[in-house]
Each structure stands twice: as structure tokens, then as C-alpha cells.
Amino acid sequence: MTEFGKNPDREWLKQRIIGVSVCIIFAFAVVFLRFIYLQIIKGDEFRLLSEKNAVRLTGIKAPRGLILDRNKKILVDNRPSFNLKIMLEDAGDVKETMTKVSQMMDTPFEDLMKKISDAGKGAFYKPVTLQDDISRDHLAIIEAHKFDLPGVFIDIEPTRHYIHKKTASHLLGYLGEVNNDELLSGKYPNVKTGDSIGRYGVEKSFETYLQGKRGGRQIEVDANGRTIKVLKTVEPITGLDLKLTIDLDLQQIAEKMLEDKHGAVVALDPNTGDVLVLASAPGFDQNDFVGGINSKKWKALMTDRGKPMTNKAIQGEYPPASTYKIITSIAALEEKEIDIHTTAYCPGFFRYGNRVYRCWNKNGHGEISIIDAISQSCDVFYYQAGDKVGVDALAKYAMGCGLNKKTGILLEGEKKGLIPTSSWKKKRFNESWHRGETLSIAIGQGYDLVTPLQMAVFIAAVGNGGTLYRPRIVSAIEGSQGNLIKEIPTESAGKLPVGKKTLEIIQKGLLKVVDDDRGTAKRIRLKHVKIAGKTGTAQVFSVKSGEKLKTEHLDFYLRDHAWFICYAPAENPVIAISVLIEHGAHGSTAAAPIAAALIGRYINDPSAEEIEKNSSVEETQTE
């Protein structure tokens, strides 16, 4: 054996190099033979294919998943849209063809040419869209003349269709064309230029499930660009379906009753947190957004004083007004500042320092204890209770009841409202808290702000024995055969900071709001179902003391907001509702009837229909 050192053995090296050379020669031979095969043996065939640009790729759009309500009624599906396109490569004389198209489509010639020039240089080998979603009449004309229109073709693609116009528009949301930044962000790997993605509502929150996966075809075409044969197909994969917790019938009743009003209605299943109704008025028609909304309609939506693009149920922040008295009651009872027997005397006002705080009932409630104070919504009782508890303890209970934080509903843009504390005021305004301010807070005015959804979650918890649920809008994600892909479980968000005894007192008071003849919402009493609730009237514009203005004399936008929150049946609730009517003036007349109508329909009490009919007729002073 030769000693192997730094100098390689010549014989050994020679043998290695020869071995390697053989490998290289073999590899090159294989490659070279392959080139001969492709270029000489199959050359003519490939030359022909290349001259016609015969093998092309066409995309197939994937249909989005459906959106269903809790009873599997379809809310959103897809319809075919006939899109007029042109393949410039096959078009021949483009100007001549466009002149014909412009006549057939009643579209200015310049617009068509602009679409083509906007598509840019790379567009020569890719279809350019001339007009999306053409009408059946135009379709018939184009199809009849298709042999006079080289390069022009109709592409049938699935397009979003919102079946019930203006129903649950804020909840369902809408789509918009993906923009360049989003494409580059890598968040949408299956989306291509021209595709639509969810822009609002569940269409946006659940984009990843709803969105399908694009398919495509390798096709061979003739010299006119017409398909001769399909070489390979990759079928698109339809997006997954969403099963919502929404009840379509209830949603539509709520929306009908909100017509011509500004406001929001939320209904929950108090035992799960399922959202049965999530309505905000005024709304918009999502079908306007399909294929891009025109700027006139968009401008109208943006400048409307009723703010149709705001989902008031989750984004509207309002003073809770008298509905907040429930929280003041909880705080005072739990802090042992009062008990069920503690009374206050209400002469119609409350003197505090050198100021006079008025009760809504100027005649006064007389000697009153907590249950009647709830049912008759006595302000004086709560001025005193709030003063005893103090702002920070009140805030502690309010936050424990789910206020001042988002409920966690899977919709974008939820607001969290505001519950003031003394340290908050110090930080925000650099001022100390005045005890007098606590009096306003105690009756839900002042800095207090809540959303209708927060109040729905809260009142549901009062009804169900104390569990705050995270509102759920989608219960399941399903495949197109109805097969379950993913279940979304209900989620508890904690317990109300309240003992059993306190809760019973509150529940008793809430029941009397409707069931007692002096209750503030006695007018919505139903025959069979017992409702427990609380009215509220939130001041938008404060009337100077002593003055009494008739509501009708106030400018609409200065009128009070009306609240009603409730659950039913009182003994074993299956529905909890929160209604807010902007500038509706009185909770009992503007808000409560909507809740009663929903309850009547949901639990089947025909007596509610009377209330539903009369809701807009009478207008009397209650609270």
C-alpha cells in the first residue's frame, strides 16, 4: 500500500478522474440526446404549437362559501356573472371590434379603448375585462355576433349575491377587490389580481374560511383563440360555509321596526351568547359593493347623517342612562350600602350641595325602596345610592359587568365604551373628581358610554343567573355538503360580580318594570310571556332646569336616545335584547315595543302583534 500524504498517488488519481469523466460524458450524452429529440424529432410539432401560441392557461375562480342563518336559511350565496372580456392577441383589428362592441353594449367607444390601454403592455396575452356582469340582453347580442368579434369572449364567474336586500348588512359585510399591498403582504396566498376579498363584517373576519382555492385549465386553442381541447384541469375548491347564529326572521322583524329610525337592536340567547339579531339602522345594500361600488353611491353613504356605514350595535357608544341603574343597584347592594328595605324619599328632586338634581318624575315617587326604584326608575333613589358607593366602587362593578371592554365579538371595529374612574379623570383632564359628578354617573349619564352589544351581554347575564358570554356570531364552519369542518364553541367571559340574593332583588325589580302598573314599560306587557327589562332615556342635549320642552319641539338630532334592555321569559329566559333608538326620545315608547315584538315572535305570543302595530302611533310621557 502506498503511503498517502500530501501528494496524491498518480495512479490512484488517474483512476478516479477516469471514473468521473465517464460519468460526465454519460450525463452530457443524455442531455444532448434529449435536445435532439425535442428539437429535431419533435421539432415540427413544437414549432407549430409555438406559432399559434396554442397552449394557454386560464384561471377558474373559486366560489366563496355560503353564509347561512341558524336554521340553515341561505343569507349569502353566489350567482353567475357574465363578464365581457377580450384576448388582444386574438383580436385582429381592435378598433374595428371595439366599435362593434360599443354599439352592441351601448357603451362609449372611448371607455372600452381606455380599459384596454389601462391594462398595460403585459395585457396582450392575458384577457382584459371590458365589462363585468353584463345583462342578459347584452349577453344574447354578444353571443349571437361572436364570430364577428374576434378575441371577444364571455367569461362566466361566480359572483357574490346577498339574497335579502339590506338584511344584516353590517353583520354580513361586503367584498372589495384586493389591492396591490394586500397581494404583496403574503396574507392572501391564493388570491390573484382582480379577485375580491372580504372588506367588512363576517365576510372579512372569516375570509380565510369563505375564500376558496382557485383552479385553472391548460387549454389548446386555435388561431382565433377558441378552445380546441382542454389539456388539464385543476378544479377550483369552493370556500367553506358559515353557519351563523342569526335568526333570519327575527333579524328582518328588527330591521323592519328600525326602518326610518337610527339605532341598533341586539338579541342574544342568554344561555349561550349566540347572537340572534344584530341590526343597525340605517343600513346599506351590499349588492352595491359587488363588482365595485360607484363613487356616487359611496359618497352618499359616507355623508349620510344617519351614518349607514357604522355598525351602531358594536360601534355606537351611548350613555346607558337609566339602564345603568341596574349596575348602581348591584354595587350598592353588594357593597352593603343599602339592602332590600332601605328607602329614600323622592320629592321629585334631590338637593346636593347648592345644586338641585331632578327626578324625571317632577311629582316625586315618595317613600321608595330598591325594587320600586328599579321599576319606576326613580332618579333620586339612585343619586343617594350612587353617592354612598362612590365613583370608583361603581366603576369596579361596571367593569365586572363587562363594560369598558370589548365583548370580543368577531367583527372588526368594536368599540369598548367608557366607564370613568377618579384616576381616569385625573389622567384625561388633570382634574379631580367631584362628588356631584358621581350622581350623574349613578343614573348612567355623564361620562358613561356603552354599546348596545355590551348592554345585551350584560342583561343576558342578569337573566341567566350571572354568566357573561362572549357573543358568538358563527356557530360552525361547514363544507359544501353540510359536513362539519369546525365547531366554534360558546365561550364564557366571566361572572357578574354579584351574589344570588342581590341578583334576585334585581330580577324582581326588572320584572316589575313591565309587570307592575307603575312600571316604566308596562305598555309592552304580553299575555303569556313575562318580560323583565329596563328602560332608559339618554340625554343628548340638557334642558335647563325649570324649562320643560316638548320633545316634538326639539330638533331631531338634539332629541334623547331611547334604550330598552330586557330578557324573557323572566323565570327562564331564552332571549335577551338590547334596543337603542337614536333620538327616539323615550325608552318605553321608542325602544321597548321593538323588543316586545321580537319576544312575541320568538316565543310565540300573538299579543305582541298589537304592540308591533301600535309602536309608532302613541307617544306619551312615561319616564
Binding site: N7, R16, F28, V31, F32, R34, S50
Partner: protein, 368 residues
């Protein structure tokens, strides 16, 4: 001091071959980049490529001043530096096309995985140069080379860049077989390799399996790589014997191939210059490779001999994988064609390799 003999021994022939390949490369790149553009507009990428090639030649010359045997001493440092860059790229690298392989340095960006190839070859040559024996290398002496190869392999797979990772393994494997392993080592490696594959396969996630299957069989993805292969074959075949002529390629002009100036550049050459053009390029590459083998054979130093072979192997595998892919014989992987495909990192890496080969060639008679 600088030895006069070095200049006398300078390998002008090898330099000429490199130069000719660069010329062919630029002509084809010009076609690929000018396709579908307005007349007269010279792409900025073309100018960049010329700058890269110029810089490559300069680096090549600088490398010749230092004796290649110095690399044997510096090998650990070079290796650690390149491995460090690979780690940095995983953390700070720029993502493009779904993988993280670029390191942005001011106005230009580099691909550390390219440089790693050279570093690995140097380190392997150093390791094997002391462990070669007539009967072949035994197990114990394979441990270090195996580790040297696995570290960059894992880092590059993670980017993920399956093509370059595979290339690394092929280069390391070639060098190992070149220095010869014991017969029993060879067979046991083969057996363990084959038995480990199914095990790894089950550990992969579905999308990873999918990626590898598509990589092996482009037909699985008729809208992506499968389509590219068809268009590539049409382009090549339609060139026939003499081609359609300079700048006359229609497939090329249609921009059907997304990577026609990088990975699919051979199809442009084949379409416009036909089988004749392909033959010229293949002959040039053939000469280049045998020149490299000749340098390896004539080197009187074990380290230099293995190093020269390793670099030749690197060039060979790039040529073979790239052309094999374009003609539909190999998986679709992002391996550039040396000196023809557009790409700064690739040009520089190959030029560094040629610089080392010239270096070894010059010093073939001075052995220590």
C-alpha cells in the same frame, strides 16, 4: 516573493473558455430581457449582469495572488463566516417568492447559500486531504464531513430552498465518492439512506409532502411548474436545428416563462439558436469541465486536487440540473446555469470557483 513562474504558468486557455461562455451567456440574456420590450430599451438587468461579470473577473484575479494552500489554513474561518450569514438570512433575510434567501446589503442583495457552496468544498477538501487512503475512507473519518454538510443543508432547507440544498448534498457526495470510501461504508450508507427516507416522509406535514411531490413530478401542478415545463419544451422544440434567429423567439417574447432570464434561460437559447446554439454551449461547458478535471489531475497537492475536483463538480451539477429541468428530465428547481442565467450571487460564486481553479493550475509545479 511573487514567483515569475506563476505568470508563465498562467492558464490562458481556461480563461478563454470562461470568457467565451460569458459571451454566449450575455447574448442569450440580452434576448431574454429584451423580449416583449420596446426596441432600443436595454434592460437595466443586462447592464447589472455585465457589472457582476466584470466584478467577478476582478475577484478572480485577486484570488490568484494568494496561494490556494492558504485556504487550507483559513477553511474553518471561511466556513463559519458563510454559515453565520445563513443564520442571519433566516432571521433578517428578505422574503421573495415564499422563501427567505436574500440578504440585503444597501443597494445590492446576496444569496449566502451560493457562497456556502464554495466554503463547503474548501472545508471538505481540507478534511479529506488528511484522511484519504488507498482502500477508502472509513466511518470514523466521515463524521466530520457529514457534520460540515448537514449544518448548511439544514439551514438552506429551512429557507426553504430545496434546489440549493440538494445541490449541496450532490457536491458533497461527489467529493466523498471521488476520494473513495471503503466498500462496506459505501453500502451501509446506501442502505441507511434508503431506510431513513420513509421515516422522514412520515414526519413531514402535508404541505411539505406536497411541495416535494410537485418538485419531483411537475405534472402534479399543471397550473404552475407543470405549465412552465410544457412552455419550456415548446420553446426548445420550436427552435429546431438552426433556431428562429436572434431576438426572434416567439415563446420567449410571450413571456410565458416567469424565470426565462434565470432558471429557464436555456429555453431562450434553444428557441433562437436551435440545436446548433445548444451544441456550442454544451461543447464549451464540456471543455470547461474537462479542463477542471485536468487541473485536479495535474495538481501535486492532495488538498488542491480535491478542491479542484469539488469546484468542477459544483459546475457540473449546476449545468446538469438546470438543463435537465428545462428539458423535462429533472424536478423544477431554482438552480441557475453558470455564467448564463442572470444573478449576481451565482456569477460571483462561479467566478470565485474559477479563480481558485486558475490558482491551482498556476501552482501545479510548486509542491511542498
Amino acid at each position: 516573493m511573487f514567483d515569475r513562474r506563476l505568470i508563465e504558468n498562467f492558464d490562458w486557455g481556461f480563461l478563454m473558455v470562461i470568457f467565451f461562455i460569458c459571451c454566449v451567456g450575455l447574448v442569450v440574456l440580452f434576448s431574454a430581457l429584451t423580449a416583449g420590450q420596446e426596441a432600443g430599451a436595454v434592460s437595466s438587468l443586462f447592464k447589472k449582469q455585465i457589472v457582476w461579470m466584470g466584478s467577478g473577473f476582478i475577484i478572480m484575479m485577486i484570488l490568484m495572488v494568494m496561494d490556494y494552500r492558504e485556504l487550507d489554513k483559513l477553511q474553518m474561518f471561511i466556513y463559519a463566516f458563510c454559515a453565520g450569514l445563513l443564520v442571519i438570512v433566516l432571521i433578517f433575510g428578505q422574503i421573495s417568492g415564499g422563501s427567505r434567501r436574500w440578504l440585503v446589503l444597501g443597494f445590492f442583495r446576496i444569496q449566502p447559500s451560493e457562497l456556502m457552496k464554495i466554503a463547503l468544498i474548501i472545508s471538505l477538501s481540507s478534511a479529506y486531504s488528511t484522511s484519504v487512503s488507498q482502500t477508502g475512507i472509513n466511518f470514523r473519518k466521515l463524521i466530520k464531513p457529514a457534520i460540515l454538510c448537514l449544518i448548511p443543508f439544514a439551514l438552506i432547507v429551512d429557507q426553504p430552498d430545496l434546489g440549493t440544498a440538494m445541490l449541496l448534498v450532490l457536491i458533497a457526495g461527489s467529493v466523498t465518492l471521488f476520494v473513495k470510501v471503503e466498500r462496506k461504508v459505501f453500502f451501509s450508507l446506501l442502505v441507511t439512506g434508503l431506510s431513513v427516507i420513509p421515516f422522514f416522509w412520515f414526519m413531514l406535514k402535508d404541505y411539505q409532502k406536497d411541495r416535494i411531490l410537485t418538485f419531483l413530478d411537475p405534472e402534479r401542478d399543471p397550473l404552475g411548474s407543470g405549465y412552465h415545463i410544457i412552455q419550456s419544451k415548446i420553446a426548445i422544440g420550436s427552435g429546431m436545428l438552426t433556431g428562429k434567429g436572434f431576438l426572434k423567439g416567439t415563446q420567449n417574447a410571450l413571456s410565458f416563462l416567469p424565470e426565462q432570464h434565470t432558471d429557464f434561460i436555456v429555453s431562450v437559447l434553444a428557441e433562437e439558436w436551435g440545436l446548433l446554439g445548444i451544441s456550442i454551449l454544451l461543447v464549451l461547458y464540456f471543455i470547461l469541465l474537462f479542463w477542471g478535471l485536468n487541473i485536479s489531475y495535474n495538481c501535486r497537492n492532495m488538498f488542491g486536487s480535491i478542491l479542484a475536483f469539488g469546484i468542477t463538480a459544483m459546475i457540473f451539477w449546476q449545468i446538469f440540473i438546470n438543463t435537465g429541468m428545462v428539458i423535462g428530465l429533472m424536478p423544477v428547481v431554482g438552480v441557475p446555469l453558470p455564467l448564463v442565467s442572470y444573478g449576481g450571487s451565482s456569477v460571483i460564486t462561479n467566478m470565485v470557483g474559477f479563480g481558485i481553479l486558475l490558482n491551482i493550475s498556476m501552482r501545479k509545479f510548486s509542491s511542498h
